[in-house]
Symmetry: D3
Subunit: 246 residues, 6 copies
C-alpha cells in the first residue's frame, strides 16, 4: 500500500482499514511518500507525486503480490500498471468498479470543491462517466484536514443523501484519503450502499492477485521496451532498463 | 452460484473453478436451472432464463452472502441486483471490471459468432465500450458444445493473440460458460493477461461481500416498491411483495 | 397490442387510443397479461413480465402484422424482436424515435420518481441519450394509480412546461401506461409537441408493417438458432425450437 | 415531397414509391428543385440546396400535412423543422429511426465512396452512431448515375451481405436517391431487413401527421423569433417574418 | 472576414478587434452580407445565410490567405471548408478549440436564451461536448441588440462567474457577434480566462495559414467532385464546376 | 519550448522548425531535459518526464510568453496548465485541435506501434476521439531512431495515404518528435493536409499568447491552492507554495 502523500497519520488510518479487510488472508505493507506533498489535490501535484510513487513501488517490490495506490485520484496508476508485473490497484478506480458491480449509478462525495476537477478526470479516465451521477462536495475548502472526518460527518451524510435522492445514485463513494473509515459510520444514515475506497482497493487487490499469475504479467505485449535513464532512483531505473534482478 | 442454463456438466466445471478460487474462505453452492435452455445464446433466451434465475435465487437465499450469475451475458442481473439485499455478481461484468483494473483495454474471445451480439450488448450496458477492443470469434458456430475447450483451444489462442496484436488488448476474457477453465491453459500462449470469467466472478463476489453490509443493502432507496404478483414461484413472490420472512 | 401488465382497465384505455389512431386501416387485438404484476415499475418486474410477454405474443401470432409492447419501458422488446418475424414496437422506443423526427430534443414526463431509473435505462438502450433532456416526475410516488390522469393533470402540465422552458425540450413524451390519453389534453397547455406513447406505437406499427415484408424477416441472419427448451408454454417453445408450424 | 435535387427522373421514381406506400391514405405532391444541382453529394452543395428546399416548402405549404425532404442526407432538415408547423421528415433520418425499431444495428449501403462523409455526418447528427455499423460503398465513384440501380445491383447486394455478415447489421438501408426502389429487389438476396428510405420517409410522414396536431406545432417555444429578411423568395420571407397569411 | 449577417455596425466592431489582433502581420478584408438577415439566430436562418456566405467567399477569394466566418454558430462552415483551398475558420469553433488549449472545460455565455439551441449544436458538431460545461444566458431575449454590450455587461459578468463557480469552467467564451469586444472588459471580473471569439478566430486564421500550404489544400481527396449548377452566383458556380480560373 | 526527452538533436531539429514558423514574431528558447529518458514512449516514462518538465518550466519562466511541451503525447500538460500563468501548449493537442479546424476527421501517423497506446490516450483525453480515424504505424518498432525520417519516409507516406483512402482522414498528423520536419516533404505525396506537430504547436503558442492576458491567468479559480513540498527543485517548489517571486 503506497501512500503518495507524505502524511503518516493518513497512511496509518488507511492501513488500519486495509488490515481489517485483509484479515489473516494478506499482509499489508504500508508506505508513506518520503518526498512530495502533505496532501495531493491537483493535477500538477499528481504529476510529481505519481513519479515518486513509481520509485516507491520499485524499491519495495520484493515479496509483494499486489500494489494499492493509496490516494484517491490514483496518481501514477497507468504508468505503474504498464511497468510492474503484478496487479496495481487505484483507490478511486477500485471504488468505482466495485460500485458498478453493486448498483447502476454511483456518486462520489468528498470534503472539498478543490478535488472535484481531479476526481471527475478519474471518472472520465475510467470510462465510467455514464454511470456516475457526479461529485458532491461542501461549498468551501475546509480550514484544516485534521479532524475532517468528525467535523464534516453531518455535512457529508447530507451530501450523500442528496446524491441518492436528487441525483439517483445507488452507491456512494466517500472519496479522499482523509475520509478513510467514514463509510461504515454513514451506512445507517444514507439510503444507499456506502463504499470506503481503501477497503474497496484492498478487497480488489486480493481478488485480482487471486485470479492472475506472475508469468501472465511478464509476457504482456503492452510492457514498455527496455530503456536507459538518467536521474531516477536505482530500483526504478533498473526496472525500466529491464536489467537482471529487476 | 446460479447457472441459468440447464446443463449440469457446465455447472460442475464452473463449480470446480469457483471452489479453487474460493479455497477455504467461502463455500460455493452450485445450482443448475430446472427449466429453460441447455445453453443461452440470444436475448430472447436471456429474457426467459433471467426470470428463471430470479426464481432460483429467491428460493436459495438462506445463508448466502453473495450470488454469482453463472452465465456470460448476465441474464437477469439488473433485476436481481435491485431485488436482493446481497451482492449479485455477473460473470461478464465481473470479468470486464476486473480487466479494467489490470490493463487499459480488454477483448472478449468466445467460441461462436452467434454470441457476439449479446456480448457486445453486455459491454455497452456496463458503460465500458470505450475500453473494449471488440469480440473475436471463430467464423462459424461449432458443431457441438461438448469438448469445445479442447477442440477449439488452438483457434481460440490464435484469436486471443490477434486481439492483442491487432486490436491492442491488454487483457483477454475467455467468454462463455463452455470455455470455463480454459484461461490458465492459454496463459503461456497469449502475450496478455487472460481472464476466466467464473474465477473473476468468484473473486469479485468474495471482495464485494467483504466490503458491504447486509443493513446497507436493506436501506437502499433504489429497491422496488412492494408489489403483489400472480403466477410466480412462492419465494420470489414473497420477496417482491416484501412479506414477512422475505 | 400486448399489455404485459395485468390491469385490464389499462389495456382498455390504451386500446381506445390505438383504435382511434388506426381508424379503419388496422384491427387492434388487445391482450392483458394473465400472470405477473398489476403495474410494472422495476427492472426485476420487467425481467419476469418480459418473459410473460414473449409467451403472449407466441400464442397470438396468427394473422398479426405487427406487435405493440404496450408498457412504457418495453419489457422483453429486444428478445421479441429477435424471435418473431414481424415488427415488434415498444411504446417507449416508438415515442422516442417519433420525438426525434419532430424536434431536436425530447423530455419524458411521468407520474412517479420510481419510474425514472427504468425509463432512463430505456433512453440509454435506444442510443438517444444525447437527444434526451431528462425525465421529469413529481417528487413522490402517487397514493393510487386509479384516477392518476385527472389528479395529476395540472402537476404534469407544469412539469412539461419546465421540461420545455428549463431543459430545452422540443417534444414532451407523457410516459407510462396510466397516462395514456393525457397528451391531447395537454396540447394547449405546453409550448411543445406532446406525444402519447400508445398513439406513437400504433402509428409506428402501421408504418413499419407497411415498409417491410414477411420474407425479409424470415431470412434474417440475426435470428437465434433453433433450440430445445423445458417449461415454456407450447407456442413459445415451438417457435424457439423452429418446429413446423412456428 | 420536396426533392432538393434538380433531376426530374429521380423525383418521378421516388414519387412512384411514395404513392405505392401511401395508397389511398394520402396524396403525394412531388416537387423538383428549380435551381441548384443535378445531384447533391457534398456538404457545400447541401448548404445551398437546403436553402432552396426551404423556399420550395414555403411556396407549397397550402393543404400539406407533412413534408418529406427527398434527398438522403436531409439538406435543410433542421431549419425546416424549426420553421414550419407540420412534420418535416428527412429520408435519411426516417430510414435510420425506422431501422432502429426493427433491429439492434443498421448499416447504410450506397453507390459511391463520395457520399460516405455526408452520410456519416447524418448518422452522427441523429445521435444514433452507436447503433450504426458503418457505411459500405463500392471502391470508386460510378461513371454515370443513370442506370445505377441495374448496373450496381449485384455489387450492392454483395456489400449489403458484408454489412450483415462482417459488421453485424440487422437492417440495411439502401441510401441515396438514385437507389430508390432497389430495396425490395434485394430482399431475397440479403439476410437482413432491407429498407428503402423514400418508403420509410413516406410511412413516417403519415405516422407523424397522424399523432400530432397543427395547433401543437404552432405553440412551440422553439420556433425562431419573427425576423425581417432581404433577398429571399416572398413565401419564405413572409413565414420568417411571421406576417399575416403565413 | 465574412459576416453572414447584414448589420454593418457588427462587421465594423468585429473588424476593429480582428485588426488589433492581426497588427501588421495580416490585412483584414471585412465583408457584410448583402442579403439575408440582420442577425442570424436560428438553424433556418443559418441554412440560408450559410449559402450566402459561400457566395461571398467565392466572390472575394483573390489574394486571400484564410477566411473567417464571422458569426458565432459558424453558418456554412463545413461546406466552405470542403470547397475552398484555404483555411476557413469559424468563430465558434476557433473559440472552442482555443479554449480547450487553455483549460480543461469551457463555458459559453451569450445574450439571449434564443441562441442556446444553435450554440449547443455547434459544440456537439465540434465533438467537444465533454469539455463544455454548458451555455449560460439571461432568462429573456433582450429588447434590442443595439447597446447590448453596455446594458448587459453586469449580467453577463455574473453569468460568467456562475459558469466558473457552479459549472467548473476554466475558460469562458463570450459568444455572439453583438458581444464582440466585451471579453477584455470582463477579464478582471471573472476568475477564468475570458475569450473573444473574433479575436480567437483571427489568431487561428493566422496560425493555420502559417502551417499549411496552398498546394496541400488543392490535392485533398475530400474535395467535392466537379458539378454543374443552376441559379448560383457566377463565382460560386465556377468553383463548384472546377472551371478554369477557379 | 521544453523537450522532456534528453536527446539534444531532437530539440535542435524541432527548434529549427519552430523558428521557421515564428519568424521574427517570436523568440524560441529551446530546452532539453537534463534527466529522464532519451525518448519517451510509455505512460510510465511520461509520468516521470512530465514531472521533470514541470521543473524545467518553473526554472525558465522569466520573460516567457508561452510554453510548448515539445513531445508528442504531451507529458505533464494538464499539470503545467493548472500551475503556470501563461499558455502551455502540447504538441499533440495543438496538432489535433489545428487539424479539427482544417477538416472533419484526422489521422495520426507515427513511426512505431509502441506509440499507439499513448497517442490514443492523448486523443481520448482531448475529447476528440469522434473526429479521429485512428493511429497508423508500421508493423514493427524501428531498429534505430536516428535517420528515421529518411528511412521510413516511403512507408509513412504510404500509411498516410491509407489513412486518407481507407479511413477517411482529411488531415494527417505526423506524430512523434523524431518525425519533426517530415510533414512538408509529404505534402505532395498525400491527398490530404499534412501537419507537423511542432509547427502547429508554435503557431498555436503565438495565437494563444496573442488573445490572452497575464492577469486573466493569474485570477483563475482553477489554480491549485498554495502548498508546501519536499524534494522538488527550488523554482517549482516556490511556485507551488505561491511564495513571493513566483
Amino acid at each position: 500500500m503506497v501512500n503518495p502523500n507524505m502524511t503518516e497519520a493518513m497512511t496509518h488510518d488507511m492501513a488500519v482499514i486495509a488490515r481489517a479487510v485483509a484479515g489473516s488472508a494478506a499482509d499489508i505493507i504500508a508506505l508513506t511518500a518520503p518526498r512530495g506533498f502533505p496532501y495531493i489535490a491537483s493535477r500538477a501535484e499528481a504529476q510529481v507525486a505519481g513519479g515518486i510513487a513509481l520509485e516507491m513501488i520499485a524499491e519495495n517490490l520484493k515479496g509483494v503480490d499486489a500494489v494499492i495506490m493509496a490516494a484517491f485520484g490514483d496518481p501514477g496508476l497507468r504508468g505503474a500498471r504498464e511497468l510492474f508485473d503484478i496487479p496495481v490497484i487505484g483507490m478511486a478506480e477500485a471504488a468505482m468498479m466495485s460500485a458498478c458491480m453493486l448498483g447502476e449509478r454511483f456518486s462520489i462525495v468528498t470534503f472539498s470543491p478543490v478535488m472535484r476537477r481531479w476526481y471527475l478526470d478519474c471518472v472520465a479516465d475510467s470510462g465510467l462517466m455514464a454511470r456516475c451521477t457526479g461529485v458532491r462536495t461542501p461549498l468551501g475548502h475546509p480550514l484544516q484536514i485534521d479532524g475532517l472526518r468528525e467535523n464534516l460527518k453531518d455535512d457529508l451524510a447530507s451530501l450523500a443523501r442528496q446524491a441518492v435522492e436528487e441525483d439517483g445514485a445507488d452507491v456512494v463513494i466517500m472519496g479522499g484519503a482523509p475520509l478513510a473509515g467514514l463509510a461504515p459510520e454513514l451506512a445507517e444514515l444514507v439510503p444507499a450502499i456506502v463504499l470506503d475506497p481503501i477497503a474497496a482497493a484492498t478487497a480488489q487487490a486480493m481478488a485480482l492477485a487471486r485470479i492472475t499469475t506472475r508469468p501472465g504479467f511478464a509476457l504482456r505485449a503492452c510492457k514498455p521496451l527496455a530503456k536507459p535513464s538518467v536521474g531516477l532512483g536505482p530500483a526504478l531505473s533498473t526496472i525500466i532498463a529491464r536489467e537482471q534482478g529487476a
